[in-house]
Every structure is written in C-alpha cells, then in structure tokens.
Assembly symmetry: none
Homo-oligomer: 200 residues x 4
Amino acid sequence: MPRPGVEELRRRQLVDATISTIGENGLGGTSLAEVARRAGLSVGLVSHYFDGKNGLLEATLRTILARLGAEARRRFERADTPRQRIRAIVDANLSYEQLDPELGAVWLAFWAEALHSDRLRRIQKVNQRRLYSNLLYAVRELVAPGEAERVAETVACLIDGVWLRSTLSGQPGTNRQSRAMVHEAVDAILDATIREGSKP
Amino acid sequence: MPRPGVEELRRRQLVDATISTIGENGLGGTSLAEVARRAGLSVGLVSHYFDGKNGLLEATLRTILARLGAEARRRFERADTPRQRIRAIVDANLSYEQLDPELGAVWLAFWAEALHSDRLRRIQKVNQRRLYSNLLYAVRELVAPGEAERVAETVACLIDGVWLRSTLSGQPGTNRQSRAMVHEAVDAILDATIREGSKP
Amino acid sequence: MPRPGVEELRRRQLVDATISTIGENGLGGTSLAEVARRAGLSVGLVSHYFDGKNGLLEATLRTILARLGAEARRRFERADTPRQRIRAIVDANLSYEQLDPELGAVWLAFWAEALHSDRLRRIQKVNQRRLYSNLLYAVRELVAPGEAERVAETVACLIDGVWLRSTLSGQPGTNRQSRAMVHEAVDAILDATIREGSKP
Amino acid sequence: MPRPGVEELRRRQLVDATISTIGENGLGGTSLAEVARRAGLSVGLVSHYFDGKNGLLEATLRTILARLGAEARRRFERADTPRQRIRAIVDANLSYEQLDPELGAVWLAFWAEALHSDRLRRIQKVNQRRLYSNLLYAVRELVAPGEAERVAETVACLIDGVWLRSTLSGQPGTNRQSRAMVHEAVDAILDATIREGSKP
DNA sequence: TATGAATGAGGATTCATTCAT
DNA sequence: AATGAATGAATCCTCATTCAT
C-alpha cells in the first residue's frame, strides 16, 4: 500500500536535482549518479520513475517550461491594457527566476541539446510558439494588421536576446534594468509602427 | 623533411571536422574518433596538435570567433555613416554564414559549455565585448552621451535574440528578412532616443 | 482469511509465466519483473513463494519434468507388449507437447544452465535416469542380457537427438514423422541385436 | 606501424578466453570483464576488435563451427568407401575434442541462445545443414533413392543425441564407446534399409 | 610526423532482492 | 497475503588519453 503522493514527491526531487546539476555542471557534466546523490536517492530510482536518462531530461524540460508558462499566465491575466499585457509577457520571461544564472544555464543546455534531439525539440517548440502567440495577441490590439506579426517577432527576439546576454554574462540581479530596457525599446517600436501606420 | 605549412593544414582539417561534427551531433555527440574520421586523420593527431580534446575545442571556438570578427571588420570598414556602421555590425552578425543552422548549433553548444568552463568563457567574452564596443562606438556618433550605452546594449540584444530564435527554429534562408527587421527596430529605437534627447 | 489453495494457484501462475517467458526470451532474457507481469502478480510474490529466482527456476524445472513423467507413465501403462512399451516411451518423449518449440526452448535453456548449477543438475539427472531405466526394463524383455544396456542407451540417444534437432529447427508439427523415424530405427536395431544374439 | 598479425592474435586470445569462460560458467555467467581477465587483456579491446559482446559471441560461434568443419573435412577426405565416409562424419562429430565437457557446454549454450537470436541462429544453420548434406551424400551411395533422406536424418539424430547425452552426463572419455555404439546402430539401420529396399 | 593499438575510468541501464505498509 | 518502492551491485559500452613503432 504505497503512500499516496510519494511518486509525485520522488519525481520532483529528481527533477529538482537535475535542474541543480545541469545548472552547475552543464548537461555534459550531469550523470545520473550525481543527480541521485543530490536528490538523496539511489540511481535505480531514475529508471524506475523516468525510464532512463532521456525520460528524466524530458520531464525536467517539461517542468521548467510549465513553471515559466504558469508565471506568464499569472501576470498576463492581471494586466488590463494591451501595453500592460506586453509588459507582463516581457516581465515573466525576464523575471528574477528566469534570469537566475543556474536556471539560465539549464535553458541554454536544453536549447543546445534540442537541436539534436527530436523529443526535446518537440517539447521546446511549445514554448517558442506560446511566447509568440501571446505577444501577437496583445500587439494586434495596438497596431494595424499586417504589422503585428513583425512587431511581435521583434519583441520576442528582444526578450530572448536580453535573456541570452544576461545568462551568458553570468551576472544576475540586473533584472529590473533589463526589463526597463526592453519596455523602452518596445515602446519605441510600437510608437514608430503606430505613427507610420496612421499616416494617411 | 616536413613540408612547411603541413601543421597549419592539419590544424585546420581538425578544426573544420570539429565544427562539422558539433554542428551535426552536438558537443555531447562529438568524440575525437568521429572528428578524426571526418578529417581523414588518426585520433592520435588531436593530442599531437591540440594537446587533447579541450585544446581542440578551444581552438575551434577561437576559429569561429576569428571568422566572425574578420567578417565584421570587413563590413565595418566599408561603411561611411554611423547608421551604416551599425547596419554593418548587424549584417555581419546575421550574415548568411552566421545564420547557417550548422554553425548556429556550434555557437549554441559553445555558449552552453562556456558557462562551465573558465577557458571557454574567457574566449567567449572577447566576442561579446567586441560586439558591444563596436556598437557603442557607432551609436555614440548619433545619440547623446549617457544614452549610448543603453542603446548599444539594446541593439546587441536584438542581434543576439534574432540569431538565437533563428538558430532554434532551424530554418535558414530568412536572413534578409531578419536583417530588415533589426534595421527597422534599430531605426525606431535611435529615432526615439534622438528625439527625446533633443528635447530642449 | 486466506482462501485454501491460493498458494497452489499462485505457484502455478508463476511457474507457467516462467515457462512462457523462458520459451519466448530464453533464460538470459527472463527477469522476475517480466515473469510477474505475465502472471499478473507482483515481483515480491516470487520471493514470497519461491525464495528468489533460483527457487522459481528449480520449481519450474521440476514442473516440466513432472509433466513429462506423468505423460510417460500414462502411455507406458497402456502398453501391452515390450515393443509397445518402447514405443510408448518414444511417443511420450516426442509427443506434440514435448516438440512444441516453446517448451523445447525451455528444456534447452535448463540443460545449458544445469551444467553450471548443482541444484538444477541434480533435478535433471532424475529425468535422464528415468528415461533410461524405463527403456532398459522394456528392452530386457526382448534382447539377451548384456546387450540390453547398449540398446537402451542407443534408443535414448535417438530420442534425445530427434528431440534436439526438432527443437533447433524450430519447426513443430512433424511429430508423427519424427516418431515413425524413431520407431523404424528402433526396430532395425532391435532386429539386428536379436538376430545376432540368437546366433548359435 | 602495427605489427602484422597482432590483430589475429588478439582475436584468437579473446575467442579462446570466451570459449573457456562459457565452458566453465555458461553464457549467463560470462561477462566481458571475465573474458578480458582470462585473455590477459583489457575490456576495451573487446569493443575494439569485435564491436561489443554480440560480435564476440558470433565470432566465437563461428570459430568452433569452423574447427568442427575442418575436422570433419579432414576425416571425410581420408575415407575410401561410403561406410567409411559415414563413419568419418560420426567420428568427427564425436571426437575427443567434441565430447570435451567444456566445449560441449559451449555448444549447448549457443544452441539455447540461438533460439532467441537471429544472428546466432543463422550461423548455426550452416552447421546443421552441412552435417546433414554430408551424410546424405554418403548414404545415397548405399541405399535406394527415396530412402536416403530418412536414413541420413536418422544418423544425424543419433549423432546429436549421443553428443547431447554425453555432454549432459559430464563424463568425457567414453568417446570410443560412444562412437562404437553409433557405428553399430548405423550398420543396423543401413542393413535393414538395404535389405528391405532390395526386396523384389 | 603519424598511426592506431591498448588502457581503464566513467556512465547508463538492468535486475534480484529487501522491506515497510 | 500481497504490493511495489527502493537499493546497489553488476554489466556493457564509450571514449579521452597514452605510447610503441
């Protein structure tokens, strides 16, 4: 008679240990032995719960995607105006948690790996598409149709670029500054697009 | 009686094979045996010329950095106006070669790895700093001091973001579109900054 | 309040699942997890009822030996003449069930394993000795003393050889032909022995 | 500049160690570590020369098949009459070497395994077919066409049966007796067939 | 300068066994 | 009586590195 919830607990322990290990040592430096050690569990449990390393990595990717998605949804729903909605997306993607160096290293590792793994790539695509379509939804409320796609893509690039450079620099804590920079650039782009689009 | 230049040839053969292997299989899927096979040489030569795998990887990173640097310098020197200089930097970083999926995979692999390797990180820093300082130099000719840093950083982020999303999407060939998008956004940001800065 | 007979039921379930697994995947491909899965029971039960894998294997071997023994006894008792008794033994050992490819694979697996396991070897010996002594009993009714041993051994070899080649060929359904072949050979051997033995 | 012949030497060392290990411990008790230890080489060499355990096992099976084949051919060519040719085949398959308990255990292990491995089964088939067709060739010189197939198959079964029971008994050294038994039975079967076939 | 044979450590995976419930 | 979670030893395989030639 297994205690209910123990499976969920073990899975989370292992996924968290995986995030921590990848964040610190990279994917290449992540062995099941090390993950198990950090989780305080035995190596055998990984196969038991995730059917091998690939399963563990996929579950880990799914987890960080879900966390980011939940954060984005929370902020998005609190926003009242189109500009606030765009800001909400920016802020969710550049939140304190997302700019944490350890988590950044995990994302980067998965992005690099996804280029060579169908399974991971498929999971990743969800993220990129969701970011883009949420942005597009908000941008469409502000600019002329036909312009929205490009603007949304530009903002998405800006977000990813800021995130990437921040992660590579290894210096956390400049989140507020980062977000302000993006907000300003977004305003400039939106204003330029609206002004141009409204020309008679 | 060694032919002169044979060392240089061997090094380039091995580095090119490394780029090709990482591009196709990722860093985790890159073994010295595979690199040697692609180069048509023996595994022993890697240690002979690069003193091990790390040396080979460092040399490979240095090589792709140098190639990007040379391209950027070439375009930069051909530009006549500040805006052209900014465009030159954008175009060099988003050139056909840089948006090639294989090369993109290599960059991504090195970025992910650099977070956990002092040697690679030090080499990488050169790139980020050079991109930023070149941009800063050009931007300073256009906007008020005190604004330039933020604008240069924004443009750098935009470039990296476009590059990242393009690499992750795996779809090459949209280079021209990508560059146009960045140029437009840069113009919007510059205009907004200049207008604001010129307010009395 | 355990139902009476549940132990016997469980044991048979597990043994039958073991036969099925070995027959399909061989001894090397047989894990307790797979056996339990096929039996629709939990892995823990194996240790509970058989005290580990070895115990399960021994019980399985004992079971198939017992089944063959019962079949042989049934046929033997129905036979009226010495020649019929010999035929009965042949037919029991080359019955439809014994030439079933799956069961053949199980026998073969156990024979190979028995060479390296005292416990299994001891169990196996029972079979060989029983086959031989039954044959000897029947043969003695026909040939001169001193000849019987060799004849009985020859027939035993013939039976095992036919069984082995049939099992290795993987083609079932030629049982009748196989038995006819043996009967004919046995007759030839018996006739030759009797004729020779009866020479003045 | 590799010494010529070193590859052949290493392969033989590993195959011989494999035969020795399987003979002593069975297939299930044969690990690459143990094989390497007996060969006085490192585990890595197995993959280097045989591309993994399966390759090693296949090479081992091929080796013992080739040895038996060579022995059979040697004896076969020395025989002058049809009966001698049949005896030659019997004697080769029941030679001192073939009835060696260790080698017997190896054969048995491979036969059991071949039922679950396409690769091994394909290699095995060569042996069974060769034994049968050689026998058929010799038998055809003696008995009426239409009878030869059954007689050849019977003799093949007799050989395999004697070999099997000898191997299972674990008692070597009764080779001469075994061979005599088969010769006698074969003569009885041939005589009976010829006599019957020559009936007007 | 170049080869590739040889090594052995490290990693993923499988599995029999144990045990708390 | 029965479960299946948990363990950790054992095994196969990969691979960077070394070295004799």
